[in-house]
Symmetry: C2
Subunit: 227 residues, 2 copies
DNA sequence: AGAAGAACTTGACTTCGGTCAAATAACAAA
DNA sequence: TTTGTTATTTGACCGAAGTCAAGTTCTTCT
């Protein structure tokens, strides 16, 4: 699928005209695992659209600790915060798995917001992000590690009994706001209680146990299929 | 100051024409201390502009705990997240002190975004909020209670040696993400170490001690004068 | 003033999850 | 394979901050 189609897919409400206008300025890029897209504080004049792979968005604390804000899934754009205001990224972005992204230069993008439908969709996404961050604060401050772990699974892969994990335990640990040691101990405990079993990169969970963490106030889940 | 002027002040980039259009639909409201403006999950068709007082924005955890996202200061609008997308507030808002707000009905507001300057300012505010929430996550997850306390003071009242507090200790505790007992003990410890002194609602801090928490990566501070 | 109820403090106790250190396993380049 | 690097596990330990339970002190309303 070439660029125009990708963009059409990501911005369905954008007119054909604007689409081709912007498509000419965008470029496709590939980032291998662990490659940095941008770091907090970097000046930037473009934002990104994730096509394939997984990107980690995080901030770094004064002591060097990484605080993960979100693991992005294909189809979402990020870094758009440089569009107006300061042109400095307030967060860092790193590829967790080999990823393909579209780079969208910011300079002419703002004009596209003249189109009402597109603009409304765009603003709606900004507001969804605001909701997400708000949920994330609740998630990090009022659930314990176990609950965060299961909610992570449901949120990222959907509610299932078997998960094929595409990221490392280390990355899962930081995605749920803890450290590898703690996750390792949690997994050990859960295995012993026979709530989960883990072999290779496949995790199996007792559905009835998992249920307690599902739905209700879980952040909107995207039902991403594993692998 | 009457409505039109207030709005002009809050939305300086809005044309006179749109200003009078919208002003006619807005209304001024007063909320006494502890009054609820809206609760998480409420359907809403208006958002708000804070003129005077202090509003607490928070989410409630499944166990009933309040997670404060932000204490608003005069001049900021909030609840705008109902404009597009769902029309349900994702957070709750309560007046911490007697407050005056403008209620802005959402129905015709979106049209105002046709004005490019206004729209850009509006979107810039949304992005600033995104940055804020991102900072808030860092703040809550990687600073200890003491550091959160002093950063709270600096962020809300500016860097000074003497603070006149307009909200209760209970509210300060929840604003910094802890409970009254813990704050009480912190204060006791700081007094004993002669880092602070507290009489009535006036708090005095050793400037050289406070310095370690200032500037660098502190969220933009508004230099709000006390009381 | 007096009573009811907030707000605040204090003490005793607990715990989750982090730190540090070391061992083991998995992986990838040469 | 060999070897260096990174990921994962395990053990011993610790500490910040929460819970629970009782005071104590302010407010505020009649």
């Amino acid at each position: 699928m070439e660029l125009t189609n990708i963009l059409k897919n990501a911005f369905p409400s954008l007119s054909e005209q604007s689409l081709s206008l912007i498509a000419g300025r965008c470029s496709l890029a590939e980032y291998p695992r662990n490659e940095v897209l941008f770091l907090e504080g970097d000046k930037g004049s473009a934002f990104f659209l994730l096509i394939e792979g997984a990107i980690k968005i995080f901030k770094t604390s004064p002591t060097g600790q990484e605080i993960v804000l979100k693991l992005l899934e294909p189809g979402t754009f990020f870094g758009e915060v440089i569009l107006l205001e300061k042109n400095e990224y307030p967060v860092s972005a790193v590829a967790l798995t080999s990823s393909r992204v579209v780079r969208i230069p910011s300079d002419r993008f703002i004009e596209l917001l003249d189109e009402r439908f597109f603009r409304n969709d765009f603003i709606a996404v900004l507001m969804a992000k605001q909701r997400y961050l708000t949920e994330r604060i609740l998630y990090l401050t009022s659930y314990d590690v176990e609950e965060r772990f299961f909610r992570f699974l449901i949120d990222r892969y959907g509610f299932r009994t078997s998960y094929v994990l595409d990221i490392s335990k280390k990355d899962i640990a930081s995605a749920i706001g803890t450290i590898p040691e703690t996750l390792s101990r949690l997994i050990d405990r859960l295995k012993r209680r026979e709530v989960i079993s883990w072999s290779g990169n496949t995790l199996t969970v007792q559905a009835d146990y998992l249920e307690q963490f599902s739905l209700e106030d879980a952040p909107e889940h995207t039902g991403r299929t594993p692998s």
